[in-house]
């Protein structure tokens, strides 16, 4: 079962909006076990729309079109589908009723603009997809070897219409094989080093398939199985996931798609441990990530953003002698920050970050990107030295990730 998306709208080609429909539809199809092989975006141009829909129909069994169903001159989808499939446009009475009802409900007595009547003309044989969230009806057109689904481009209309009408239609029509996916999430290792560890597994597998990828700062391995049922898919995935987990154990923090701060939060909660933070170069980012987790107030006692030496001394008790002898960015200061914040908050763990995020402030001895991370716990303080490249924002993000990784390793 091979599907493809045709996204219509000049505004997407001008970069005026991010195309969230494509992601929504892609995820919906993946959840039905339908393979999405192509996504094409074209502007509101007759020749290019007709060309793109024709090609899609020639190679895919399911073509989902979004956009171009509005009432204006620019809205060409209905006519283009009719042209490509050698049909005419006919007034669909059910569609017209729905549009008129929408106008009555929304505007009371004000009558429907004549333009909107155009939206009720559908290719012969099409079945209307009701739109209770706006004026543009969608439609499903079944052909001998394929099907076209057309939806309006407004996400607030497309999304509920897909869920209410298209999803049940697809599940009924294309019942059969499902795709089951499991994501393993890693920290403290890069994508290519991770791939080296499991290269033979990637190459030897066909069902499930195994693919490493990086997105939004997290390195993941995606395991995808084709099967008759979700249970069979999971059973195919289990032994491969176990094999990968055995080799990657020092870096593997989740097999359920959780983010690192959620995994840490669960661990702290179940052990009854508490946390305090002292951030210099990350400026509050670690606290922000920790507190993105609902319920983090149970274990996160407090945080200090200590940008100045005065703050490091006053709030955390870092010794003036340490700052003078080793500097604010040093192994010794990091350790005193972690121990100081742990004591000040009365927490089980004190986590501290001090470094140079740049772009200024670096020296030959202490360049931009040098970051010390310290974790103090009862009777023990670990300090790590890192050297990160990138922009100020990337150095902050990499420092925060490294700090959470150190914490995770200590509480896992």
């Amino acid at each position: 079962m091979q599907a493809e998306l045709v996204i219509i709208g000049t505004e997407l080609l001008l970069g005026e909006i991010v195309d969230t429909n494509a992601q929504f539809l892609a995820r919906g199809l993946a959840n039905c076990g339908i393979n999405l092989y192509y996504k094409s975006t074209v502007g509101d141009n007759w020749v290019r729309i007709v060309e793109t829909i024709s090609r899609a129909l020639s190679r895919s069994e399911l073509v989902i079109i979004s956009g171009g169903l509005g009432p204006t001159e620019d809205d060409l989808t209905r006519a283009a589908v009719a042209a490509v499939t050698n049909r005419t446009l006919e007034l669909d009475v059910e569609a017209l009723d729905t549009i008129e009802a929408y106008f009555r409900k929304r505007y009371g007595d004000r009558s429907m603009p004549p333009n909107n009547r155009k939206q009720a003309y559908l290719p012969t044989g099409a079945v209307v997809i009701p739109n209770r969230w706006g004026t543009a009806p969608g439609f499903i057109l079944e052909l001998s070897r394929s099907a076209i689904v057309a939806l309006p481009g407004v996400p607030a209309e497309l999304e509920p219409m897909f869920t209410a009408t298209v999803l049940p239609y697809l599940q009924q029509k294309f019942r059969g094989e499902v795709f089951v996916t499991r994501n393993l999430s890693f920290t403290g290792i890069g994508e290519s080093s991770l791939e080296e560890l499991v290269k033979d597994i990637i190459q030897s597998q066909t069902n499930p398939t195994v693919a490493p990828y990086a997105s939004q700062g997290v390195v993941r391995i995606r395991i995808t199985a084709r099967a008759a049922t979700p249970e069979e898919g999971e059973a195919l995935i289990d032994p491969v996931a176990t094999m990968i987990a055995e080799r990657t154990q020092p870096y593997l923090f989740s097999t359920t798609g959780q983010v690192l701060e959620e995994v840490i939060g669960e661990r702290l909660t179940s052990a009854g441990w508490t946390l305090a933070l002292a951030e210099s170069c990350t400026g509050g980012l670690v606290g922000h990530r920790i507190t993105n987790v609902p319920g983090s107030s149970r274990y996160f006692l407090r945080g200090y953003v200590v940008y100045s030496n005065e703050a490091k001394a006053a709030d955390l008790g870092v010794k003036q002698a340490t700052l003078a002898q080793y500097g604010a960015v040093s192994r010794e200061t990091a350790a005193e920050m972690a121990e100081g914040v742990r004591a000040a908050a009365g927490a089980d763990f004190g986590l501290a970050i001090t470094g140079i995020a740049g772009p200024d402030g670096g020296t030959a001895e202490k360049p931009v990107g040098l970051v010390y991370i310290a974790l103090a716990s009862q009777g023990d303080t670990i300090v790590e030295r890192h050297y990160f490249s990138g922009s100020r924002m990337q150095i902050k993000q990499r420092s925060a990730q490294a700090a959470l990784t150190l914490l995770w390793k200590s509480v896992r």
Copy 2:
């Protein structure tokens, strides 16, 4: 001049990520006056990648490819471009040097994984696009009637590479009409209210065009002029920008694309004022945003993340009686937090946020989304009460934005 994008990555067809590169590239091309006619997305599949690049080359003079330049087996772009253009892959010494330098800088003595060497093989005749932000070099390949530009799929690499190398290349190659764009940025007003204020201007303009839009939490008005030179474009924009600014003055914080925290930073720096933060429900996000600005250590003295009542009392001197009588989320506590943090840090401004980010912890009297923001300065404390809707993350983000807006209004 007709361009087209080819976006490569199975993760996009699975709906795992939103494709922000497409928008970034589309906007960049529009600003150069280059027409983007097609955007095609395919997975990491040899046959479909080759087919899609071939078609793009057959109909467009400029083909920009993103993704598929990584070090793994799945990364097929280099080989596919070579196949489509009948070239071989050759080791590019400059590209290899850059990758090795990146690894040395990032990991010191740890040697480069052998996989990454693959990234330095480019189609014969290609010119490398340096990547200082990651391992994957891009390339430009000029053909007799067209050009291919290949960039890595990671936005943090693609975006600076496009700006540093591709944009100047395109501007030089495809000189002609230019598009000049100016963005006015607003805070404290929604997109549709802003549109109402300037509706007649939007409707009466053709060159420049005026369009409101919202992206990444900032409401903007984009003014775009077509002209023969950048100077002519700016001259067309000036009177329209002035007219809009006059009507929207209470909300307009930048006409140069700066973010709010940069504008605040410049103002604090030039006035010689200092800032301290006390964050409860935002958990460090305000500190993170403030410290994203290079040089923020000049005015940002320190921050406290005071999740617990103990921390509010110990670090900020919030009175136990206040907490007991009014609660942690109250006008009175917010004011004492702001005054307390100002005094503790010896800062000119103390900014405090306390609220309920949810999803739990709300009551009928104090529901999720209730947030107090206080700003203490010499002899004056302002408190604002907000009620935000949305997820925990959205409430944190809206609270941070409102806090920075309050600060901006006081220092502008």
